[in-house]
Amino acid sequence: MKNKKLFTVLVLALAAVCLSTPLFAGGAQEAGDSRPTFVMVPKLVHPFYEPCIEGFKDAGLKYGVNIEVESPPKFDIALQVKVIEDLIARGVDGIAISAVDNKGLVAVVNEAIAAGITVICFDADAPATNRACYIGTVNEAAGYTAGEYMFNLMGNKGNVAILQGGLAPNLNARQDGFRAAAAKSGVKIVAFEDFQADFAMGVNKTEALLETYPDLNAIFGVSAYGAPTAATVLKEQGKSGKVVIGGFDDLAETITGINDGSVQFCLVQKAYKMGWLSVEKLLDLRAGRMVPDIIDTGIIIVTKDNVDSYMGQVKSEVQ
């Protein structure tokens, strides 16, 4: 008897949660709106996408476009495909995807295009699909630029270790570019470690690297946590500034490191520009104008000199 009651209560609770779900969904389109609707589909919920979304929304405001963002809850190709399928069913006008996977998106992207939706990729490309264009960082070129800058700081000699968080293709491409730049300089890459995007593991690996290579001159972080984890250890060991540290992305810890001198530079992808250009290019495509296959948004090198102004710099490039 008691169990039956409990069961009823639980069923009611479940029903209440399901019914209230629409309350959590923001930004629903108003009926009778003639403006086009463009939807951004990131890989997952992640701070990296916030400036992308900001640029996407700002451009939408300027050009009179309805803007929505639909993030899969986690990095999973099946979830991203489902999000796009739902958008096809809803009949939106344009989709900008940061591709979780290349081949895995082919069927659903082609289905979207067949349904009259304009599809482009931003941040992460899926060239195997029929997406109209890619807007984002060309990772190999970015890695090369990073290498050139770092080796210059090192006087084109000495030893460098690479810290990478995960063995994802985009990170591997950056690493390839970095290695290509090293081959042309006098700098030697003595170690490469994967810390699987775990802050604690990054610190552990840095500690072990410094133990193994006492003559290390620089540490390069291929992904976001690389530079701040290395800086954490060097600060602790009182070697801050004696080893050159640089890396991708402007996490708050990285910026703190640039300000206190433990990180020499970081490379920032122009995320705001990616979002902004996504709207512009989707509009161009819908108006039948030609758009290049790949648009390299480039990177900006952030040092102590421009650490306070680089965000504005990126915005002023497009606005």
Binding site: V45, P47, F192, D194, A200, V203, K205, E211, T212
Partner: protein
């Protein structure tokens, strides 16, 4: 079967003290795994002598302490033949609540209590669902893994919390008599857990439930209450790890503890804990965590390729389990 009433192994009528100790060491369930740890350390030192430097040992023991504390919690749950998959997320969530409390300007002590309260409270919810509602621990804690991690995203939107009260940093970065504070905390937690599990009525009942839950229940023991509390303890210990990580890294990371539940479970199992429940020891868990930490460090020091490290790690976990199995078959 599992040792329902585990009696401290007594050396039986041995003539000399030396053979006494020797017998004791061999008879101990943990001996095989402890010898494996020593062997691994010797091999690493031979290939990479930097391993045995004071600086490196200092840092490796500190690295081990993070996982070990959380592993002791999961271990307690496993003793009741349950499982706790939510520890990784609870490490992250309690670190975040502790960080948020400090960002609000609450002092370090209230913040630590809030962090620990988060872990203990969510752990008790796990325990309630497992013991009083009767859902499988695997599903309850799997769901909680997502809920706790998701709550981190709701609170932080993915951004780390950086306004950390500087006074808390000593927990993660300080040391006492040359021993890192996280290691001292690990030792204190271990001693408490060892005493609690071996010498209190409650602790003996935890083992008893894992040995035979039905028999324990029929003997008039409140099995539900004990099982519920065990998950609370697991959450509490996870939160201690989470708070130490905040103090160690000077920020509350949203990805903190992601995937650590597997490391914690592996540490317990390598250390001889039976997933069927009822068998295992605190010392074993510590050795298990040490093996994993030492190998992770050693692979870098021995300059093993990054592409090989993960596979080697997995191989050694299986190898350790095999050694333990063979050894314990011989003893029994």
């Amino acid at each position: 079967m599992a040792d329902l009433i585990e009696i401290e192994e007594k050396p039986i009528q041995s003539k000399t003290t030396r053979s006494n100790i020797f017998y004791h060491l061999i008879k101990k369930k943990e001996s095989a795994i402890f010898l494996a740890l020593l062997g691994i350390m010797v091999i690493i030192t031979l290939i990479a002598p930097q391993f045995a430097t004071i600086g490196n040992i200092y840092r490796v023991t500190r690295q081990i302490s993070f996982v070990a504390i959380a592993a002791l919690g999961v271990f307690t749950v496993i003793l009741t033949s349950g499982i706790d998959l939510s520890v990784g997320s609870l490490i992250g969530l309690s670190g975040i609540t502790c960080g948020v409390a400090m960002a609000w300007g609450l002092g370090p002590i209230p913040a630590v209590l809030i962090g620990m309260g988060t872990g203990f409270g969510v752990g008790l919810i796990n325990g309630f669902l497992v013991s009083y509602v009767g859902i499988t621990p695997f599903i309850v804690t799997l769901g909680m893994l997502s809920m706790a991690r998701g709550t981190i995203w709701i609170i932080t939107k993915g951004w780390p919390i950086e306004n950390i009260d500087k006074r808390i940093l000593v927990i993660g970065q300080g040391d006492f008599l040359g021993i890192p504070l996280p290691v001292i905390i690990m030792i204190v937690v271990s001693i408490i857990m060892h005493y609690f599990l071996r010498s209190t009525v409650f602790g003996r009942r935890v083992y008893a439930i894992g040995g035979n839950e039905e028999a324990t229940r029929l003997s008039g023991i409140n099995v539900k209450k004990i099982k519920c509390l065990v998950y609370g303890i697991s959450g509490l210990l996870a939160s201690i790890t989470g708070i130490i990580l905040v103090a160690r890294f000077n920020s509350a990371q949203t990805s903190s503890g992601e995937g650590w539940e597997l490391d914690a479970i592996a540490a317990a199992v390598i250390g001889g804990t039976s997933l069927m429940g009822g068998a295992g020891s605190v010392v074993g868990v510590l050795i298990g965590a040490a093996i994993m930490g030492v190998i992770r460090n050693g692979l870098v020091l021995m300059r093993v390729s990054a592409y090989w490290q993960t596979a080697i790690m997995g191989f050694i976990i299986i190898l350790a389990a095999v050694i333990d199995r063979i050894k314990n078959r011989q003893v029994s």
